[in-house]
């Protein structure tokens, strides 16, 4: 019987543990971003931030904004803008 599961990578990953001590006021934006990041995406968010990416894509869309966007799409169901 063959080997099951994901094949191991040729190199072992380098595990880096960084402990952040964040000021709730001065670093409030970072606290919010890290605590609101969906489960399992925090490490990807930090890696993207280190590479200078736009981090808004990692954040869940507030409900009101999601409804607004859905209403716009609904209004375009039969009539794309000219």
């Amino acid at each position: 019987m063959g080997r099951r599961g994901r094949r191991p990578k040729p190199q072992r990953p380098v595990r880096v543990v960084v402990t952040l001590s964040l000021d709730p006021v001065r670093d409030g934006d970072l606290v919010e971003m890290l605590t609101r990041a969906p489960s399992g995406t925090r490490a990807a968010l930090v890696k993207a931030a280190l590479r200078g990416a736009d981090l808004r894509a990692f954040l869940p869309v507030p409900e009101e904004e999601a409804i607004e966007a859905a209403l716009d799409r609904l209004g375009e169901s039969f009539d794309a803008d000219v």
Binding site: I67, A70, G75, E76, F78, D79
Partner: protein, 342 residues
């Protein structure tokens, strides 16, 4: 700039603004004039109370729009081409907008509702384009001897029943005003017009195609049935318009009730087939359109769909909701590029 909703129905042409004002005018136009003796001294309110048509002067011709039967031969246009404009539709638009806004010059963003089956037809894109070509720009004329102009800056074409959904859920600025759970839930709209019956279902801002259907099983069936019954019983058959008007005034009479029950059965059957087994899963079934004003049709639908919601005025609910959506177009224009301007 004002936000207006336009619901150009086969029975009535409805127009509303986002503040909740509405105007309704029968979708009937004829060429002619009202005798000056009848017209003199009549203000807007007196004119409406007297059910006089609006006299719309376009170029060299005067059209009568609205309650024209007593003054001119009405030109009924129940074909789909009418949505592209033409002098009759232009006269109706000016007459309805004048009833809503009064004398003056106005700028507007407009949301227009078309029947579902028109928007699902193979030539729907062409129809939408022709509606845009007609509406975007200036509409100027003389109504009852007074100058009137409506400059429409942005237009969005929507399915008519979406108007009822927006009337149910949006506030005057076009923002969602109900709990977010209502937005996420599955909601259906049953829109009974004179010539059309539209079923529409929405869930979390998505149209559910499976439960969205349009047909031509409207109040017209009751009018046709009434004409048949009258021909058989009284030896005289009214026109469809006359039959519709007669039903609105005499629907409780046996012959009227019989005609309406026939139409109600067909309408309920169509709705049952369209909504199928999703009915118990619906948060609300919004009943809208002129057909809902008839008790036999409304009551049969309410018995079949216990979660039915009837708006305060089902005749104008679509126009009102479309106007609230048009308020979003004005916000878009303020916030950034709208992309809807011609």
């Amino acid at each position: 700039m004002i936000a207006i909703g336009i619901d150009p129905g086969f029975g009535n042409f409805k127009i509303a603004d986002a503040s909740g004002r509405v105007a309704v005018i029968p979708s009937t136009v004829g060429v002619g004039e009202i005798a000056p003796a009848l017209e003199t001294g009549l203000g807007r309110r007196r004119r409406e109370a007297s059910r006089l048509p609006e006299a719309v002067r376009l170029g060299n011709l005067t059209y009568l729009a609205g309650e024209v039967e007593r003054y001119a031969r009405p030109a009924d246009r129940l074909d789909m081409d009418r949505f592209g404009g033409g002098p009759e539709m232009e006269a109706l638009l000016l007459a309805a907008a004048f009833r809503l806004l009064g004398e003056g010059e106005f700028e507007a963003a407009a949301a227009v509702g078309l029947p579902v089956h028109v928007l699902r037809a193979p030539d729907a894109a062409e129809t939408v384009s022709s509606v845009r070509r007609w509406l975007v720009g200036e509409h100027r004329g003389e109504v009852n001897g007074r100058s009137f102009a409506l400059r429409i800056r942005a237009v969005r074409v929507l399915a008519q029943p979406l108007g009822a959904f927006f009337a149910w859920g949006l506030d005057g600025s076009g923002r969602w005003a109900r709990p977010s759970t209502d937005f996420k839930a599955r909601v259906a709209v049953i829109d009974v017009g004179f010539n059309t019956l539209d079923i529409f279902a929405v869930e979390a801002g998505e149209v559910i195609q499976r439960f969205t259907q349009g047909g031509t099983v409207g109040v017209r069936r009751a009018a046709e049935r009434l004409a048949d019954l009258m021909r058989a019983q009284r030896g005289w058959a009214p026109s469809l318009r006359e039959a519709d008007a007669w039903l609105r005034g005499n629907g409780e009479e046996e012959i009227g009730r019989q005609a309406l029950e026939t139409a109600a059965s067909e309408i309920v059957t169509f709705c049952e087939q369209a909504l199928g087994d999703t009915a118990p899963l619906l948060r609300a079934v919004l009943l809208t359109g002129g057909g809902i004003a008839f008790a036999p049709i409304r009551e049969r639908l309410m018995r079949r769909f216990p979660n039915a919601v009837v708006p305060a005025d089902p005749v104008t609910a679509n126009a009102l909701g479309l106007a609230r959506f048009a308020a979003r177009l004005i916000r878009e224009r303020k916030d950034g590029p709208a992309g809807t301007e011609a």
